[in-house]
Amino acid sequence: MRRFIINTAISVLFISVSCSDETIDDYPANFVQADVICGDSVKVTQFVNNIYSYIPDGYNRLGDNSMVASSTDEAVHAVRGSAAESWGTGSWGPTSIPDNLFSSCYSGIRRTFIYEEQIYPNVKDNVMTSVGRDLYYGQVLFLRALLNFELLKRFGGYPIVKKALETNDDLNCPRNTCDECVDYITGLCDEAAGLLPVKYADNQLGRATKGAALALKARLLLYSASPLFNDPSKTSDGLENGKYDVSKWEKAAEASAAVINLKNGSASAYDLYKSYDAFFYTLASNKEIILSKMATTNNTVERLNGPSSITGGEGGTCPTLDLVNDYEMKSGVSFDWNNPDHAANPFGNRDPRFEKSILFNGAGWMNNMTIETYEGGKDKTGNKATRTSFYLRKFLNVNARWNAPVGKTNHCFPIFRYGEVLLNYAEAVNEAYGPDMDPKAYGMTARAAITLIRGRAGLTGNIDLSGSVPAGDQDLMRRAIRHERRIELAFEEHRHLDLRRWKTAEQILNQSVFGLEITKNTDGTYSYAPQTVEERVFSEKMYLYPFPQEEINRNTGLIQNSGW
């Protein structure tokens, strides 16, 4: 046996000391904890104020200061290569979504749950009365409903998050079905409506009201009744559509009627504002506003859509000839280039909303200028000039100035307005009961709602559509209502969603959009020729947005919409 010379040294050094966690337990004093907020009514209010910042912006909110409208048949963006152009021409997908609010919606939703879980239950009576607490809780519920709806309208069924998630929760959240989402948001709207007031003090305009919650529910139910989500061939509820149910139109009509019949004391809570154009920059005594994205006075919208002849004017949103052609004559007949009277004076005697929405060659504008968009005209030259010969007029205030002396005016983008509710109502009631029926005694037929819209617009003939929609003709009334939405709600971020939910986008958003080439003749008259300005590409998969690819990668429960 081998002999080992053992020459071993072992040294062990173990000193155990008490090392309980408590011995290192500092806490930074500047880390404000929830209890500080709960003990201070100002901070509770501020917490809710912060969530309002998640209400999506309107106007030129897409990349390169382009408008959603510039991706549809309403407009093109003046400068090439904008996010809206990519969207409209079909260059978008899971890795580039021009209108990507996915992450921002969930961030906002998280904050509503932080409020519900950590703030709301811990505010003591001596800090804020239960009435005050419920008032803010109602607003938070409304904001949660709105942000959920923003997801639904883009993606169809989406993963509903019902708490402030924690990192050790299962974050592979699966999508809910369409009807589950609609039911969930409807419940939030109902709960919020029960807590919210019809009206706030003037200095609180912009907070969610009962009417806002009801208007959200009305639009939600209208969307859920529409062909995209309520397709007769789909007999079961799914991720991309709900279960077909013709009575969804009735629910939508009922929800819109609830807004129309909402009372503030004995008076109606809402009414159409007297002036179509001034509505957009008037806040005081404006009963048409249901909810707007509030902003301090500015001239940004004017500048970003300003004619190129004004220093700093960005051109921005250039209305298409297609939209221009859709404005009726003031008398209520359709405009027609083949009609010599119409063609001789194409921008005169039109639906008064035309000149309140669109700046055309010869129109008067700020600083007493006249728009010149004929070839070689001052507003048709420069690298930011209009590509269609039209500029945006809607939303803009002629008194705003971005050059000295600077003038700022109100621009609070309408999230919900009474005009839209009337159109929602007309559409739902017509689908449910036809143009001239009011079996549930809501107090108004579809035709009557449209008449209100056309009456305020200032049309002098065919206000009640009696000349074009025979009594009881549901199909013609549908066409008229869709036309009315296109005109009344132009540039207000409805068109791209309306064409989707009607399932008409594959036809309408699949053809080139036009501008007008205007030539000034030597005798001072003008010649007009339509001109293709941009292609529009829309394939079936685009009815719903794709989920962002990185979200698909990170969440195995998230199933991509079909076709993407």
């Binding site: 071993t8 072992i10 404000v32 901070k43 992450s103 959240c173 979200e551």
Partner: protein
């Protein structure tokens, strides 16, 4: 032994970072041939949530002194040979500050009122993150040490492999979570080897030595939860840390080009003959972010080597040190390289080789312009190899014989001259290779000194 540490960051207003833990070690020797060492630390930091504050970090190393094994009959010239290996786990402390706690702060507000007025907001600015814990680094090492020819030749070799994991990276989870969160999911690798050779000898009065070392280290980002990219060449993951990304230089535009017919580079500015044309990697006829890829090798040198030698003869002594580096690139830019930089810079000698009409592709520099966004976007054109060999230090001395120094009342007297940074062979010739990209900052100075060392 127990250990408590408080690191105070003098620059910040934050609380000091507190650590505590215990350490221990265990050594085992057997027969003078086998060595085994185990040390560990049980380290705690209050920056991590309770329950995850402590990390256990052991290091195990083993050695075998082969030359002590009489039975192995190593060749006679080998006087010492030791083979060793180690494996250890260490913990890095991420740059977190009480991130396991939630907190609230004032933030974005809103606007309300018929006369719209801004109001303040308050929000949860930090979400409690219970997943925080020590970033772990495993290090494995094998190598040997060897003395030969009566210790005149020494050699050692090491191969190492390191892997850092649980590095905190942002947003590794779905945005349905609704807030920014860091997850311990990042991963980073580093591996390489190191050789060291030394020789020293004496021939009667003449002694001399030389040592040479050579080290190669390559690192790679394994996972950093990179955003989704459209093309494989755009990914940063899989490359060394801080690798540069930019457009690939294709050629100069020339007068013969119909620029409008070439891939559209207008996103980068306007193009004229003499400007840089970049490669259209995805072939979509547009030069944009999709054509950005890795340019140049690593920023930090992957190869480092050094040579030192010296000699002594009857009171004279000489020592010399060279240092070199390779496999790295620099990015020529700014005042030291670009023309009319920022409209206040100079033109320099290398601008004589600029593109001019007729110079085609033979130019070394684009046409000169006062401002030109196209040429100065980050591109491979400005990347240059950055290898260098520097004579870092040389010293010659003479020590008076002891008998002489004693006579003048000193125990030792030495006179010397030395110089540092005397010579540098390098690729970029307009700036010091060890400086930042734009060459601004003082270069390493060349220093000469002469002196006397007197000991009384």
């Amino acid at each position: 032994m127990a250990d408590r540490q408080q690191l105070d960051d003098a620059l910040s207003t934050g609380l000091a970072l507190n650590y505590q833990g215990i350490k221990g070690s265990l050594s085992y020797r057997y027969s003078n041939s086998y060595l085994l060492d185990l040390s560990y630390s049980w380290q705690g930091s209050e920056q991590y949530p309770k329950g995850d504050r402590y990390g256990f970090f052991p290091v195990l190393s083993a050695g075998w002194i082969v030359s002590n094994e009489k039975s192995l009959n190593l060749p006679g010239f080998v006087s010492f040979l030791k083979i060793r290996a180690s494996y250890g786990l260490t913990g890095n402390h991420d740059d977190t500050y009480f991130d396991y706690l939630e907190s609230y702060a004032s933030g974005t507000g809103s606007v309300f009122g018929v006369s719209p007025a801004s109001v303040s907001g308050y929000y949860q600015n930090k979400v409690a993150n219970p997943l925080l814990t020590w970033e772990k680094c495993s290090k494995a090492n094998v190598g040997f040490d060897m003395d030969m020819f009566k210790n005149r030749l020494t050699a050692s070799f090491d191969y190492f492999k390191e892997e850092n994991k649980d590095i905190l990276i942002q947003n590794a989870i779905t945005s349905m979570y609704g807030a920014t969160v860091y997850m311990p999911e990042g991963k980073f690798k580093n591996k390489g080897f190191e050789i060291q050779l030394g020789w020293n000898d004496r021939v009667s009065d003449f002694s001399y030595y030389a040592t040479f070392n050579y080290a190669v280290a390559k690192n790679e980002i394994v996972n950093q939860n990179e955003q989704l990219r459209n093309y494989s060449w755009m990914y940063r993951t899989g490359h060394p840390l801080n690798t540069r990304f930019g457009y690939l230089f294709d050629r100069f535009y020339t007068e013969e080009d119909d620029i409008d017919a070439l891939p559209d580079q207008s996103l980068l500015g306007s193009q004229n003959p003499g400007d840089l044309k970049y490669k259209d990697l995805n072939g979509d006829d547009v030069i944009d972010d999709n054509d950005i890829t890795r340019i140049g090798s690593a920023k930090m040198p992957e190869i480092n080597y050094g040579l030192s030698f010296g000699a002594g003869y009857k009171g004279f002594d000489l020592s010399v040190l060279f240092h070199g580096a390779g496999n790295s690139t620099t990015y020529n830019s700014g005042y030291t390289y670009w023309d009319f930089y920022n409209k206040t810079g100079n033109v320099m000698e290398h601008h004589l080789d600029r593109w001019t009409s007729g110079s085609g592709q033979s130019a070394k520099y684009p046409r000169l312009t006062l401002s030109n966004t196209n040429n100065y976007v980050t591109s491979s054109f400005w990347v240059q190899k950055n290898s260098f060999l520097r004579l870092k230090y040389i010293e010659l001395g003479y020590t008076l014989p002891a008998t002489v120094s004693k006579r003048i009342g000193m125990t030792k007297a030495r006179i010397f001259v030395n110089g540092s940074n005397l010579y540098c062979r390098t690729k970029p010739d307009h700036k010091d290779p060890e400086l930042q990209d734009d060459g601004l900052a003082y270069p390493i100075p060349r220093v000469f000194s002469a002196g006397l060392n007197l000991h009384f």
